[in-house]
Symmetry: C2
Subunit: 753 residues, 2 copies
């Protein structure tokens, strides 16, 4: 099928207003009588609250109220966003204890500093070692609270939970296991076995825009919210639940998001809504960068062991792995998805992958672009690379030989849906950077490769297409745009309806007026909303042609839509412009009904996406400094609906992968205090560290259900980068770094050992 | 068909929040940086503007700007709302000359008083006599400007325009004529002929909430507006036109309306939007009551002559009438519809009805509930009553004998669609108040009857029904609710979908997100939007049952929807609650698409509605004071979807009819200055003047296309009241008053003559 607006590069429809600074974010909003909120947070990782003295704060000018748990509903604190304000005990540094409400931001800040909280510090477990030690201080002595729906958004709820409900209370909140065959026999059959321990760090998603929410009580008893979130309908539900309101009484507007990467589902929205209700005034809470670094929803630290064996001819005989996840104070870690992916990328008859989710006195983790996958594949792909080296196998041949194909079992025994893993690895193998790797080596560089993938998610969606009097088509969807999905959805509508994308206008309402779409997470907006948009546009087109057929006295089959007008094929004079037709449906006495198309879509089969990457590095062994001189990102995108935006995702994923590999870590001291609490200490890759040569190669193995065969493209490209860099460093130095990030210090030490 | 939620009285869904004062109107809105606007208006009916001195105003604290025509675009002032600010010349007292923008309302008011405008007064024509005199000052010496689309909203654009394009400029802006047969011959065949002159007054619609608009420039160059209007999509279009924007760049939210009655289509919205753009700040304009009385959009004054003849046996032989309408400074009067109705209610072979629209130096008229009809039927029904008296015919028998039936020709030769005129008159005839009229007469009261009707309008409409996770059904429509239509639309959706109306939530978005519906005017919202709502609910129900059938493993035909759950008929255990089903369509990995129903409707055939009324009055001949002791409002409503709300419309129409008959007049002195510029001088009927006994009788002759047979009910009940009262006064006193309103002064004089 030839397409006009699909498969061609096109800029973001809101790119101009974004770069001009004209887009209004939540932080740009203000309402009459609006109060500014600031958090008073715990300086202790674990402590009893003895008393909260608000008098000094309330005496300050502009301070209107200091809320504490006493003013909050006594709901069970089953998830992080239901902790609201600490009641009796704090469990992480940065946990909100009180909320100061004042007329200005500055007054709220002064007020927060003047609230005096008297604590009795308690022993804390802030590392995996401490949390799993005998007699460790328990994060939840009364038992682990139940989780939320959020983990499901990333396709993470896939592993069997093998936790023993009868066990005594511990900080281990979840155990998962995938296995088949006999690993002992498998290792016995191997010609070489590699067993290594790998660790990663807590990483912050480092979006530009902090968490921000504005809530306004409605006269009718409901609540209106404007917030930066990836999940409008989910936040609506959670706020309604916490406020004890019917969902229909919560009107949530998902504002443009200034970066999220998985961290912006729900956090303080229920708290802000409760404060607004308490004060009966609008309340806005905008986190500071410090608060973001200290206690938002970072990616969790993994400690992993991988043992893998293969025969001399390159057949994997056994894979055994254990993954411990430090998830902070709440469950809902990606341990299940990480274990599943680690055990599913390659086919191995003898398999044993175990995972443990462990709670510590630290902020709970959130999602970060392919949650769990960069960690798991860092371990797996490092170990495989080492094994290939020991067996003197070509690392890509070795991977291709064992890589899973469509229909072959995943670690959980379920078959892979249609995947393009082989094609992806083969494309990297054919790339000049791999073919000519010896040239790079001659130039003193190391070359490493790695593979990774993401299963993708699905969620039902609906969309509306309404033709306007000016001949534009309004496309109404409820999805939050993080990655340019609005641009792609507009193009899908344009293609299907038959007009230019610049005549399609994206309409974003709120949770009351917009059709339902799921959370923006799991690389699934284009994949699942796209078909709903296409159906809505097709419905609208059919309505339009029926009207035009009557007006033109022609058969609908003989009509075509070209350049904004309906034409009778072969009769160049018989045309009607879209605005002319639309006006006949939107005027007094009109005899045609307004063109109002609706599309609905549900598809429980996901479309996994894989990325294979090659990193070329220059290592300064004297300083431990690593320069990524080249990064090749190969990815199966199913169909690149807009290659410009897809390339942007692939490049962005690669650069964030460099962050994972070489730079980023939330580091804590022995008392659980954050050491890297600002962007001076927490180092993000700068533009000159984002690979001198950054290349993308799109592989197109169409998915069964995606629009035009497209797969989700957001998550896969971040996954194998760190592993590819680590393998490249090993190639350059002969030494393996098994902890992320690989900073100059650690590399220098590793090389010296 | 038995119905559960249709045909039963039910309160307004927003009645509680309305009476509690919790509904937020436009005047309750404020935005950060919002400027308050006040008009500087002309004190002359006709003058040249020599100079505008803004210096003193700009020197006042808080005054930010004084805008004049110099800051306005030089668009042709083709309609009242495009006059913007006067350029060079003013044409009515109260015409905006400058707009003062200040930080507070009080500062804006002070600023407006400090603007000094130097005028040279010009001769003005402020009456029909003056405007049609030889060498009259012309309102538009350069030719009458073209009209707007607004008149069409009332079904008013129905008469042939017989204006002569070649005529020299005059204040007569339009002439219409309907005729057939030979009136001279008709009068020759009559046994009696009555010829009389009738006049009515300019009447203000007297809504509680004045005109109010808030406009905010959008960062992207578009404009957002919140306003009190009956016609969201029409105002959107007009603002876009004046601002030179694509319609899609104007996002208009139609706020709850605190009364409108036809006056709130478009007035100052383009001006406010221009001011907001000029200042790049939000601007709000809220008219004062004085500004409302002086220069809003009142109902026009009519001067009419009716000549009617009949045979002794009650057959109408000829009807000749002329109608002159004083429409103020702009065309778009209801002269066409008034002439058409006057000539169509009864069948008469010899017919000649002429109308002239005449412009004067006064504010242009707007629509007021059945525009032109109370005036026309006051004349016709007074004359007929007098003729019946002369021929000693029973006035209702006489009317019944000549009343039009479905399919018979209207004055323009087109056939009446299905109507219930005969049934309506017959129901009044059967009413005890008529049957026992002699008892009232014995008690010293006069009894009068009159008939009137309204053709109704049509406009395409669309609606959406979306099932929510909490089991409620969101009904999204773009229509403005003036009369309780939201309540009725919710009931129509509930009935069709199969759940309780309190589980339906009306969603009102803005012109970008809402499906199109036409202006709220012409008694057509329930009639035209209702079928779209029913179609949307039926679409949603079908989707729901298909999903439920899969979940329940049953055939969709075997399912029923009762008490918020889907049941398999005959299997009481096989049920699924709506929220349970909905959640399966709105969750991660869900396999069912969200229930998203859409309905579309277009029907060019209107459903005319008629009212026959009986007034019983007590006249104090010594003072001229009239007490309406009883008013019986009979009306063909097609089908009373919600009898409580329909009765409310009928009673409200009757009471406004009493205002027309006895109280209301915008009176001007010889210089064109308004004498009744406040609610002290302009007397509205108070509650103790609203008929001691106010009865409603609903006749149900189903319309062909209306939902469940319903007809529009808003306009008909106001039409015949004034005529019935005048006829009752004649019955009581033997004297006829032929000018409205019939105040104590005029009645006292008439009785004394």
């Amino acid at each position: 099928m030839t397409t006009t607006h699909i498969g061609h590069p096109a800029p973001l429809i809101d790119g101009q207003i974004r770069v001009r600074g004209q887009l209004r974010y939540t932080g740009d909003l203000a309402l009459p009588q609006m109060l500014h909120a600031r958090l008073v947070t715990s300086p202790y990782p674990h402590a009893e609250i003895n008393a909260i003295d608000r008098a000094a704060a309330l005496a300050l000018p502009g301070v209107v109220a200091v809320l504490t748990a006493a003013e909050m509903p006594t709901l069970p604190a089953t998830s992080r966003h239901r902790l609201l304000l600490a009641r009796g005990r704090v469990r992480f540094v940065g946990q909100p204890v009180a909320l100061v409400l004042a007329e200005t931001e500055a007054e709220a800040e002064d007020g927060a500093e003047a609230v005096h909280v008297d604590y009795s510090a308690l022993p804390a477990a802030t590392t995996l070692a401490a949390a799993t030690a005998p007699n460790a201080p328990l994060v939840w002595p009364g038992g682990t609270p139940g989780g939320s729906d959020e983990a499901a958004a990333h396709g993470a709820a896939v592993a069997e939970d093998e936790s023993d409900g009868q066990a005594p209370p511990s900080n281990v909140s979840r155990r998962v296991h995938f296995g088949r065959g006999d690993v002992a026999q498998g290792f016995a059959a191997a010609d070489a076995v590699v067993e290594r321990r790998y660790t990663t760090s807590m990483v912050h998603q480092s979006y530009l825009e902090p968490h921000v929410t504005l809530a306004q009580p409605e006269a009718t008893g409901g609540m209106a919210l404007w917030t930066s979130t990836q999940a409008a309908f989910y936040v609506q539900q959670e706020v309604a639940d916490v406020l004890g309101l019917p969902e229909s009484e919560v009107r949530l507007t998902a504002m443009p998001v200034g970066g999220a990467f998985g961290a912006k589902f729900v956090l303080y929205q229920p708290l802000v809504a409760l404060a607004a209700r308490q004060m009966n005034r609008p309340v806005r809470l905008l986190l500071t960068r410090s608060e973001e670094m200290q206690a938002a929803l970072p990616a969790p630290r993994f400690e992993m062991t991988v043992r893998v064996g293969a025969t001399r001819d390159g057949r994997l005989t056994a894979l055994e792995a254990s993954l411990d996840v430090d998830n902070g104070c709440y469950p809902d870690s990606p341990v299940g998805i990480a274990a599943l992916l680690l055990g599913s990328l390659y086919q191995c008859e003898n398999l044993a992958v175990r995972g443990r989710e462990i709670l510590t006195h630290k902020p709970s983790s959130g999602a970060y672009r392919a949650p769990g996958a960069p960690q798991a594949f860092f371990a797996l792909e490092s170990a495989l690379d080492e094994l290939a080296g020991q067996l003197d196998l070509d690392p890509l041949d070795f991977r291709l030989q064992n890589a899973s194909r469509s229909g072959e079992p995943m670690a959980n025994g379920k078959p892979w849906p249609g995947i393009g893993l082989h094609e992806t690895i083969a494309a990297l193998q054919a790339h000049p950077a791999w073919q000519q790797r010896d040239l790079a080596r001659q130039a003193g560089r190391g070359v490493g490769v790695a593979v990774g993938g993401w299963p993708g998610g699905t969620e039902p969606a609906a969309a509306l297409c309404m033709l306007q009097r000016d001949g534009t088509l309004h496309l109404n969807v409820g999805s939050v745009d993080l990655t340019g999905t609005d641009t792609t959805l507009a193009a899908l509508a344009a293609e299907q309806f038959g007009l230019s994308p610049d005549r399609v206008r994206l309409i974003k309402g709120d949770t009351l007026s917009s059709p339902f779409t799921g959370m923006t997470g799991g690389s699934k907006i284009t994949f699942t909303v796209g078909p709903a948009v296409m159906a809505a546009a097709a419905d609208a087109r059919q309505q339009l042609l029926k009207i035009a057929a009557e007006m033109l006295e022609a058969a609908a089959e003989d009509l075509e839509l070209v350049d904004g007008e309906v034409r009778v094929r072969g009769l160049p004079d018989r045309t009607l412009a879209l605005d002319k037709i639309a006006r006949q449906t939107m005027r007094f006495g009109g005899r045609y009904a307004p063109v109002t198309g609706r599309g609905r879509h549900a598809n429980p089969t996901a479309a996994p996406g894989f990325s294979a990457q090659l990193a070329e590095v220059l290592v300064d062994e004297a300083t431990g400094h690593v320069t990524v001189t080249r990064l090749v990102v190969v990815q199966d995108v199913g169909k690149a609906l807009n290659p410009l935006l897809v390339a942007g995702q692939m490049m962005g994923g690669g650069v964030q992968g460099i962050g994972w590999g070489l730079h980023e870590a939330l580091r804590y001291d022995d008392e659980g205090q954050l050491l890297t609490g600002s962007l001076m200490d927490y180092t993000l890759p700068k533009i000159d560290q984002a690979a001198a040569q950054l290349e993308t190669v799109m592989v197109e193995v169409p998915s069964e259900k995606g629009p035009h065969g497209a797969r989700g493209v957001g998550e896969p490209p971040v996954i194998p980068t760190a592993a590819a860099i680590a393998n490249a460093i090993a190639d350059a130095t002969g030494k393996r770094c098994r902890s992320l990030p690989i900073t100059p210090q650690t590399l220098w030490k590793t090389v010296r050992d």
